[in-house]
């Protein structure tokens, strides 16, 4: 855990923030498309200048992206390893009713996992499994624990829309890659693809999280989830979001709007 804080401090000190990473990727995408399309027709000095700029920008953007992904990659072994030795199957008493209200026909499998440190709840849509940290169940108030459960069930409820988003994203990438590939060199196309996928994957994942929040709020009300997110924000400090999750403050603000509308 100390390493986590150290990594976070280090990345903040060298200005590697998620927002800056996204800005760099946007710039890279634009550079690939606009000057990149005409690069083969440029005169030699301009082509050389573009090559250096393109190489530098690519290296910088991908380094930033790698560092931004580092936290997620670091968490992966914990997710997989911790789940094996200490999981126990259980079904929260309220889960069936929440699933019924969300119109989820087949109840997923619930696993209670212990000893995972800061790893929160997660959902596997393929195996229809929801993992919930034992410590959350023991320490949080019931309403907040149920909000976390509702959010995960919201992912199952909205999984089709997630896949539609995913297919649209793939279509956009292919649709933009093919015309670009006809006008420029393969290296630029490859970099363009990587940068665009990193940007769009974040966008799809964030939409998926917002959707799960909304599904949860529809059934349980937004109060429990707001309370839980505020608690997480107080514990871990303000964040700027990650590749998979939007910033906590943005999610809280969106849920706050539902307080008046529901």
């Amino acid at each position: 855990m100390r390493h986590t804080a150290a990594l976070r401090n280090l990345t903040q000190r060298v200005f590697v923030t998620f927002k800056r990473t996204r800005c760099l990727l946007y710039i890279l995408v634009v550079v690939c498309v606009i000057p990149g399309t005409f690069v083969v027709w440029l005169p030699f000095p301009l082509r050389l200048a573009f090559t250096y700029m393109f190489a530098g920008l690519t290296a910088l953007a991908l380094t930033f992206a790698a560092l931004s992904f580092a936290n997620m990659v670091r968490a992966m072994p914990a997710v997989f390893l911790a789940g094996r030795g200490t999981t126990k199957e259980f079904e929260p008493p309220e889960a069936r009713e929440i699933a019924r209200r969300m119109k989820i026909r087949k109840l997923p499998k619930f696993l209670l996992q212990g000893g995972t440190g800061e790893v929160g709840p997660s959902t596997n849509g393929f195996t229809r499994t929801i993992r919930l940290p034992r410590q959350w169940m023991e320490q949080l108030h019931r309403s907040e624990f149920l909000a976390a459960l509702g959010h995960e069930l919201g992912h199952l409820r909205a999984r089709r829309r997630f896949w539609i988003d995913y297919l649209v994203m793939s279509g956009v990438v292919v649709g933009l890659t093919v015309p670009l590939a006809l006008h420029t060199i393969p290296l630029i196309v490859n970099v363009f693809d990587v940068a665009l996928v990193l940007l769009l994957a974040t966008s799809v994942s964030w939409r998926n999280e917002f959707r799960a929040d909304r599904e949860c709020a529809k059934v349980l009300g937004p109060e429990g989830l707001i309370s839980l997110l505020e608690l997480l924000e107080a514990k871990y400090g303000p964040d700027e979001g990650s590749v998979t999750h939007p910033p906590l403050r943005t999610r809280i603000d969106r849920l706050m709007k539902l307080l008046d509308s529901q």
């Binding site: 855990m1 100390r2 986590t4 804080a5 401090n9 000893g115 995972t116 440190g117 800061e118 940290p133 410590q135 959350w136 023991e138 320490q139 949080l140 108030h141 309403s143 009300g221 109060e223 429990g224 707001i226 309370s227 505020e230 608690l231 107080a234 514990k235 400090g237 706050m256 307080l259 008046d260």
Partner: protein
């Protein structure tokens, strides 16, 4: 520069954080680990509501509390439910007249319990101890 050591009852880990959180946060967890209310009191809005109610000392409507702490009444109501479950707040419904109408409506009146006062005093004392060490 003083660093805060954040203790979590969840996994028994200690994490060093920059001095960005209120000092109370450390103390809340430290002092309430034993009776399991650490996570409960850690919630910032809930703590704000509890502190306000303890300071006022008189029964308050949900709307009054919401205005005073600047939180949506639905959220206040939710936090009051949680605090009531933990015995930090007591509430009852009273019939109150409505302006311009002969009808009355039931309003929830809440007051902090003696336990809440003890909890908050304990926090204040612990903050002084941490500050002095």
């Amino acid at each position: 520069m003083m660093f805060l050591y954040r203790l979590s009852v969840l996994d028994g880990y200690i994490q060093v954080l920059p001095n960005q959180l209120p000092r109370d946060m450390f103390v809340w967890l430290l002092k309430f680990i034993l009776d399991g209310t650490g996570e409960l009191v850690l919630q910032p809005t809930r703590f704000m509501i509890l502190r306000y109610m303890q300071r006022i000392g008189e029964p308050q409507y949900v709307d009054q509390i919401a205005r005073a702490v600047g939180v949506h009444p639905r959220l206040v109501s939710h936090h009051l439910d949680v605090l009531e479950d933990e015995g930090l707040v007591e509430s009852e419904y009273r019939l109150m007249p409505v302006d311009g109408s002969s009808r009355k409506v039931a309003k929830r009146m809440c007051v902090a319990t003696a336990r809440a006062s003890a909890v908050l005093e304990d926090i204040a004392k612990s903050v002084q101890e941490v500050g002095g060490s």
